[in-house]
Amino acid sequence: MSAPVISVRDLRVSFGRGASLIHAVDGVSFEVAEGEVFGLVGESGCGKSTILRAISGLNTEWTGSATIAGRPVAHRRDPAMARIVQMVFQDPYGSLHPKHTVETALMEPIRIHGLDNGARRIDRVLTEVGLSPAFRYRYPHQLSGGQRQRVAIARALILEPRVLLLDEPTSALDVSVQAEILNLLSDIKRMENLTYVLVSHDFGVIAHMCDRVAVMNHGVMLEELTIEDLMRGRMRHDYTRELYEASAGYSRRLETRADEADAAA
């Protein structure tokens, strides 16, 4: 394997103090190779979004070390990092400013980073995410959920980053639009040779998109497994198996078993 594009060592993030102190991320390490899709699954509140916010530079209060594309992630604001790594959020409503047109939203990073050919870049990136250039004049409320998520992806791509951090990018979308967005993410990954970290609660999405997946619980990574192993149910940890079995859907029987495991823990 060539040098990893993402390398994270002993990442720790905590919030609050005293009785309400919580170690949201409690010593996490992982590496992601170029062109790889690395999945992140785990209990709600276990620290997945917190990891992405730390390595994308959105949150600067963390310890440990992280390197992306050979560049150490700084523990302070580092605007240059935006050209290497970008994040796409779950909520296509919250992530776009309601009073900004698509063009304004896409122009902002171009302006901040002093890039030339703004109009050409916008046309290119809109085409890339499957929107006609006419969409540049639309406001978020004039877009469907799927179109909004395409705009959010376009905004993440406009600075031509090497890495996209995708935080539940399709969980707010219906299944057909989800299929469109997942196909789109596969296409642009191939075209731009991108590397992804993908957070999802949906094992179907993880199995479809990822090469490897890490399972988290309570701020730590329990295990990493290849998708091959996930699909064949070859996991080491009981918690991973619980997640795997629970993803088949609801049944009173399974549910009871998960609860007993909970009580035993």
Binding site: F15, G16, A19, S20, I22, V41, G42, E43, S44, G45, C46, S49, Q90, D91, Y93, G94, S144, G145, G146, E168, S171, A172, L173, D174, V175, S176, V177, Q178, A179, E180, L182, N183, S186, H201, D202, F203, G204, V205, A207, H208, M209, I227, L230, M231, E242, L243, Y244, A246, S247, A248, G249, Y250, S251, R252, L254, E255, A258, D259
Partner: protein, 279 residues
């Protein structure tokens, strides 16, 4: 099944706009008893508007009409805003699709849930706090005492969703309309939350309308499922038969799901047929 809890007959919701009339819901009819009724369908098919119309929570620009809209012995169609305020939350709860918008950003989540309890049941604040902590624990929030004092922006996506669920369940409604209530939850916590709802249906006779994009979940959790397309119910099935659905639209939705045991190069997406609009 005994008397339905909710009867909906010929419900329509439309919006007038400069571009013409948008028909969000087109004359749909269904009943809900002491059971779990799923509503699935693509984005924009009218699922949320159906739920909101029952509680008269549609936007002011919406026009709502129905031949019958009855909750137990109450004619919702005729109920005024004051009567509705007494019904909402207390007798019919609704978990909104986006919990972040539904919570007050400047009040701790614990106070908001406790308040929801006290509005509907007279209780001391100490008792309301106890009930709130118990409810947070029931929805599998780790360390409820810590979370009680957090503000909405300090909780994760899935915690916010469970806080909304706790807030809606605490007044013990007869009917619960849950709009994508578990989309942000990991699969094991999701099942725990669903079990709470399931028990309320079987033990207390709650009626549940469960709106979701997750076809596998609806197929395994609900008793019946309504499939909506463009404001209409195009198919209605026992939930266990969802995977044997006949309508090409329902088949298309099922095909577009990524599968855990099979990797496909590309996922098929819907190709819509104009005939679905009239069928």
């Amino acid at each position: 099944m005994s008397e339905p809890i909710l009867t909906v007959d010929g419900l329509s919701v439309s919006f007038r706009s400069p571009q013409g009339v948008v028909q969000a819901v087109r004359g749909i009819s269904f009943t809900v008893g002491r059971e779990k009724v799923g509503i699935v369908g693509e984005s924009g098919s009218g699922k949320s508007m159906t739920g909101r119309a029952i509680l008269k929570l549609t936007p002011p620009s919406a026009e709502v009409s129905a031949r019958v809209l009855r909750f137990r012995d109450i004619d919702l169609a005729a109920a005024d805003e004051r009567a509705m305020r007494g019904i909402r939350g207390d007798r019919i709860g609704m978990i909104l699709q986006d919990p972040k918008f539904a919570l007050n950003p400047v009040q701790t989540v614990g106070r908001q849930i406790a308040e929801a309890f006290r509005i509907h049941r007279s209780a001391s604040s100490a008792e309301a706090k106890e009930r709130t902590l118990a409810m947070l624990e029931a929805v599998k929030i780790r360390n409820p005492r810590r979370v009680f004092d957090l503000y909405p922006h300090e909780v994760s996506g899935g915690m916010g969703q469970r806080i909304m669920i706790a807030m809606m369940l605490i007044p013990e409604p007869d009917l619960l309309i849950a709009d994508e209530p578990t989309s942000a939850l990991d699969v094991t916590v999701r099942l725990s939350v669903l079990r709470i709802l399931d028990e309320l249906v079987s033990d207390r006779g709650l009626g549940l309308i469960f709106i979701s994009h997750d076809l596998n979940l609806v197929a395994t959790f609900c008793d019946r499922v309504l499939i909506m397309y463009a404001g209409r119910i195009v198919e209605s099935l026992p939930a266990v038969e969802l995977h044997r659905a006949q309508h090409p639209y329902t088949r298309g939705l099922l095909d577009s799901l990524p599968r855990i045991n099979e990797r496909r190069e590309r996922l098929p997406v819907l190709t819509r047929d104009p005939a679905w609009l009239t069928a």
